[in-house]
Amino acid sequence: MDYIFYVLILASLYAILAVSLNLLVGLTGLVSIAHAGFMAIGAYATALLTTKAGANFFAAAVVGMGLAALVAALLAVPTLKVTGDHYIIASFGFQVIIISVLLNWPALTNGPFGISGIPRPSLFGFAFASYPRLLVLAVALAGLAGWVAWRIAVSPFGAVLRAIREDEGAARSLGKDVTRFKVQVFVVGCALAALGGALYAGVTSFIDPPSFDIHESIFILAIVIIGGKGNVLGSMLGALVLIVLPELLKFLAVPSSIADPLRRVLYGVLLMAFMRFLPAGLLRERPAR
């Protein structure tokens, strides 16, 4: 039973990550494979503040989000001029640099050994210690992230993002300060990724650099695309599908050593299949009313 809770918690976690990446990729056309890097910022900030400084989980998570927002803002400006393939490579670069920092700065991050003993979140004495309680928290946070993303998507702000996605020059010709929009959406998306990271730290109690590497980023991207670019509910559905489906593999008596790579083979194939047969994803983007 605990196992089912855990799977659902994971699905909620990836919902947060997918919904926030969708703001960048789906709505604005900024294909980033650095999302796990920002998740890491949130996770490590939370882990360090709760274990080393005894801070409250939620306070630490907010600090993590703030830090991610700051880094995102700094990163956004130079990468503004960069488009298409170059942008993806640049995001790749940032992802790699983040992991390098996490691995090679043991004084701060304990390097490859990671940080363990991260306490479960608690608020005013109420501890989210059990899986059912963690699930409630995870779903609540996923709901929050989804709500923020949805509000943005249906607003005039979102309409401008879609305009930028289709034709940046045309958007500028209508007086839109494209720079501001791109920086702002990037900051929000990355801050929410950090929220996901904080939740991850609180749930798993142990984090290390490989949990946030490029494969994670690609997986989150796959969820966004398969779920449906530009559709918030789609991202949540995508997370559910891509987390729950592989778990069903476990019932097929697959040896545990190949369970993980097999899961990845699955989503790799799904990504290819969707691009060929259903590029809009499971839930296609609906025009704002």
Partner: protein, 292 residues
Amino acid sequence: MGELLQLTVNGLIAGSAYALLALGFWVVYGTTRTFHFAHGGVYTLGGYVFYHTLVALGAPFVVAVAATLLVTALLGMAIERFVYRPLRAIGASDMETLLSSLGLYVLIENLVIIVWKSDPRLVPVAEPLQQGLPFGPVWITGLQLVGLVASLGLWGGLALFLRRSRVGKAIRALAADPEMTEIVGINEDRIRLVVYAVGSLLAGCSVVLSAIDTGIAPSSGMSALLIATISVIVGGTNAVSGGVAGGFLIGVVENVGIWKIASEWKQAIAFGVLAAFILLRPTGLLGPRQAK
């Protein structure tokens, strides 16, 4: 001073390997403008075929190399024929093609893990090749020498092929102006198959040289792809020599860089160079002054 010289030489030799990687990637990217992420997968699979044939099956070196080149070329062509061409036929966007390529990379990397597990595999190399030989004030190992000669030779061979042969000229035409080539009667689909075969063959050569030096691991392809794409972007995507120049630059900067910065930051240094170029000179070393 001697140390700096040695590091620079190391850098140039590493650079020659990177240049070869860049060449393989550029042959596809520069001509078809497809961001062939799966190229990393071709590289990795090639490396494991080499390892398996040489070590697990105990075949002679030449046979292992031949098997590697055969598999990589065939895989590359199969990817073009069965993944990219159908996508083109339905009018898939660049992003959709890239995502497909990404999915394919994930597929290949994890199939490799399923078959060969995730620990790195080493390839035994003849002792004498690992010895350092003095060349004036610097030391170069036999292995490094082999790598350098092979890289330069392949670069020369590719340049000749592109310049002299009919197929090579058709490829350059495709790179310059895809619409014109169809009109002039060049079969674009067939040229693309050749492009993918050549690019993948180069990847096969790269991975063989790398495997005998540092072995092979499932993530090797990703690292190689990264270096290749950085080199191509830094060097400029317009000409063959772009990726080569970029590769040498990255090699030298990385190796000289670790004179003062700890070696774990090598990859970060490479990206630092990339960042500098993106900001200051986006068309690359050998690109036109101003982007069109």
